[in-house]
Structures are given as structure tokens and as C-alpha cells.
Symmetry: C3
Subunit: 206 residues, 3 copies
């Protein structure tokens, strides 16, 4: 189980780091700023999760592979930004994969640290969306996850599958794969069909 979580985490780290680095380049940050954005986008979610559940030091600081993977993704994006821009829709699909992987691995780790089922779902979702939130905050933007299409909800569903499977004592590997596939499929469908959550109508400005 632990190996599975690690592998999922490292793949998710790479794709999220590419998204962070891409926004860094687009905002004309220098090389250092691009690397910070790639690390933040890739690891802020899991760092927040680990601090909250008491896994100290957080995996992103205790295991050099996370740092190496996000630095590598940042350097590639910095060097080949135009090529990656042309792959924009592929990047969105990879981002959906990263979201799915982080949501299920985050929920697994929260369960392993003894959090309650409801909170394990929340922390799975936080692991998935935390990096994107910090990435956008560092760029002084309102995080896109707070107002875009269906994104966080798909992470909630993926983490929920993992936790329900855990409660039902199903085999963890199968449950993890099912949760990740469901999250990924929902997210890709939401992208393709433009599914959105409702917004409230605020009254005219006063």
C-alpha cells in the first residue's frame, strides 16, 4: 500500500508541478520563481495535509524525490514553455490525473493517521486542491478552483470512494484504483461538457 501511495504521489507531483511552472512562466516570474511555483503547486496540498495530521516532517520535506520531481518538471516547463502551451488540453488531462491521484493518496494517508472518515474525505480533497490554491494565491489571484467548473467535487468523490471502501473493509488497492478512476473520469467529463456548479445571484452593487 505504501509503495502504491508513493508512486501515485510522485506522478501527481510531476503533473501539478508542470501546471504551477506554466502559470509562473506566463506571469513572467524568473527561474527561481518558476521553481517555487512548481514546488508549491505540487506540494502545498500534501504539506498542509501532513501538518494537520501530524506527519512531521511532511513527506515533501522528508523525501528528496518530491523535490527532485517538481524541480525537474519546473525546469522542463521553463525550457520548453511554448511546446507545453501547445499541449494545453493534454496538460488539463494530466492535471485531472494529478487531482485523482492526490485525492485518493491523501485520503489513504489521513485514514492511516487515524482521522475520522468524514475528515479523511476532506483531507483527500485538500491534498488534491491545496496546491492549486497556493499557486494562485502566490500570484495574487482568486484561486480558480473556487469559481471554475467541477473540480474539487470530483476530488471529493474520489476520496469518498476510498473512505467508503475502507469502512466496508474492501481491499485497499482496488478501492484506491476505483476512486482515482472515478475522480479522473468525472473531471474529464466535466472539462468536455463544461459542467459547472451554480453561483448565487448577488444583488446589484450598492
Amino acid at each position: 500500500m505504501q509503495t502504491l501511495v508513493l508512486v501515485l504521489d510522485l506522478i501527481g507531483t510531476f503533473v501539478f508541478a508542470v501546471s504551477g511552472a506554466g502559470k509562473g512562466v506566463a506571469n513572467r516570474l524568473d527561474l527561481f520563481g518558476v521553481l517555487v511555483l512548481s514546488f508549491a503547486a505540487a506540494s502545498a496540498g500534501s504539506i498542509a495535509r501532513d501538518v494537520v495530521i501530524g506527519a512531521i516532517p511532511p513527506a515533501a520535506f522528508g523525501d528528496w524525490r518530491y523535490l527532485a520531481v517538481s524541480a525537474l518538471a519546473g525546469l522542463i516547463t521553463f525550457a520548453r514553455f511554448r511546446a507545453i502551451q501547445r499541449l494545453r488540453s493534454a496538460v488539463l488531462v494530466f492535471d485531472a490525473a494529478g487531482l485523482a491521484l492526490f485525492a485518493v493518496s491523501g485520503a489513504q494517508k489521513a485514514l492511516a493517521f487515524g482521522l475520522t472518515p468524514v475528515m479523511a474525505v476532506m483531507l483527500g480533497m485538500l491534498t488534491g486542491i491545496g496546491g492549486g490554491i497556493v499557486r494562485d494565491m502566490l500570484l495574487a489571484e482568486i484561486p480558480i478552483v473556487l469559481r471554475s467548473e467541477l473540480y474539487a467535487v470530483t476530488a471529493l468523490v474520489g476520496a469518498g470512494v476510498v473512505v467508503v471502501g475502507h469502512l466496508a473493509e474492501l481491499p485497499p488497492t482496488g478501492v484506491t484504483i476505483a476512486g482515482a478512476v472515478l475522480c479522473f473520469g468525472l473531471r474529464v467529463a466535466a472539462l468536455r461538457h463544461g459542467w459547472r456548479l451554480p453561483t448565487a445571484k448577488p444583488p446589484p452593487a450598492t
Copy 2:
């Protein structure tokens, strides 16, 4: 004592969640974004306090009632935003109540975890104002508490009463109520009379 802290915390959570959700709706976030804002405004202060004093997992993640209360407040605000807007001055009074409750419960918890008196006062204040700071940062705004009327100082006074009472070995329930009432009264008076802190005069831009 622990029951008192819990009840104060849950009431404070509700009113702060309404303030967060209200700003979320006003900024046209979707339903998920509104719920994130209500949770952040309600719980970021206590999460920061708990991480710093070592109360892991933070109460907001270890006890489902905080999450339930802030989600409920968020949903009500989302569904009834116009009605809540008309109650704007009532919301400010409730917000003063939330500030008072968080400041005293935060100071109590910091003392219980062995922090020094000065730091217990600081952490009481942080518990009171932290949620509003994160709420505004998520919206890419300069936190209003950093430049508005008398707000944080009233939390400082409330937390200070709790800590001084603790040092004088007065009964905690009475001290807590006194601190909360004083903070609340000061804040409402500041709202009514427009009391402000001074600002320095920066030189003309160069």
C-alpha cells in the same frame, strides 16, 4: 470549562462562516467556493492556533461539528444571500460576537497547552482574526483587519482579560465571560462611533 469552550467555538464558527460565505457570494464564487470561504473564515484562525500550539489534529479537522456548522452557515447564506445582505448591520454585530468568543476560547486553549501568558494573548487574538485574514487573502484582497477600524485590538483586550484572570487564579468561567463581554462591547462601540487606529503619513510616491 471544555464544554464552555466548545459551545463558544461553535457559535463563533457559525457567525464567521456567514461572513465568509457572504463575501464569497459577493465575489461570484460558485457553491463550492462559497463553502470553502465559509470554512476558511470560520476555522483558519483556530487551525493556525492548533498547529502552532501542537493540538494535532486541529479541532476543526478532528471534530465534525465545526465542519457541519460552517457548511450549514454557508448553505443558508448561499440560498438566502439577499435576505442576509439586508441584515448587514446585524451581521456586523454577530461578527463582533464571533470575534469575542474566538478570542477568549483561543486564549484559554493556548494557556491549557502551556504557552506563556503573553503568547496566550497573541494566540487568542490570532484565533479571532485569522479566519478573516485568510478569507480576504483567498479573495486576493488586503485583509480588512489590517486597515479598518478598531477590530483586532478588541480581541487583544478580551484575550488579555482571560490571561490576567488566569494569572490571578480567578474562576475561569467568570473570567471568560468578562473577557468576551468586554471585547464584544468595545467592538460594538467602535462600530457605532467609527473608532479607528492612526495611520502613518507616507511621503508622496516617488
Copy 3:
């Protein structure tokens, strides 16, 4: 060693608090906001480091001297803003000193808490630049360290000297001084000569 780290930390705290308070005054925050900015700029880096390495409560909350020093720096800046503005280039040199002191003390503390060498270098850098990042985020600006001249890299070099010296079992005091001097010298040279990191060329906006 511990005394050396404390003294370096307090000096760094003062100069960083001046930088935070100065930006707070320039953004027309009130007195409370200026004090928050001075504390955040001075202590956010070391708080993040301490939370991540498990040094709870963080030094900035466990030792009143950090708070006292940053409040003092904030009050002086608030009262004498024009005078400090005229000293702008001196402030930049002091800021370089703060960066050097935090980078080496942060790396030392991370080593003392058993982090790996690579992560001790990262955390030294984070201690040096974290305050400036939070300061700018509180003002809803993209952190200047992510796009300005050579800044974080000099902290990386200073922290790197400390860690390499530790691995080589050289005397810690000498190594700490060497790292700080090198970081400071590089930063001042970067200021004087306008050294910058490269930025990638984003394609024309689409």
C-alpha cells in the same frame, strides 16, 4: 551554538520587521496592520520552518523576545517612516544581512532536528525568504522574491555552506559565519550590479 543562533535570529528579526513595517506604512495600513506586517515579515519564515520540522511551539511564539523585537521595529518604522525611507539603500543592505542570518540559522536548526542535508538547505532558504513572501501575500502582491534580482539563490548558497560544513564536520561557528558572509556578500553584489535570473519568454497572449 544555540546562543549564536538566537543572536543571529534576533538581529535578522529586527531588520526584516523594518522591511515589513515599511511596506505596511506605504500601503496605508493602520498601526495594528503595520505591526502585523512587521511580525509577519520577521517571523513567518521561521514559523513555517518550525512547524515543518516539528519545533512546537515555534520559537516566534515560544520566546517573547522575537515578538518584542519585531514590535519595536514596527513602532520605530511607524513613527519615523520618512527618515527610514531616506535610508532606503541602507535598509536594503540590512535586509541582505537579515537574509544571510536567517538562511544560516534556519539551516542549522533544520540539521539539529534531523532533516536531511538537502532539506536543511531548502529550509534555510525558506527561513530567509518566507517572511517576505507572506508580507507580500498579505498585501495582495506577487512576492517580489519570485521575480526580482538574485535574492533566494544567495540564501541557498549561504545555507549550502552551513550544510556542507556540517557534513565535513567543520566547526559550526566558523561554518556559520562563512555561510552568512558569503550570502551577504553575494546579495550586496547582486544589488550593486543588478544581477538577475533569466525569465522564460512566454508566447504572445492568446
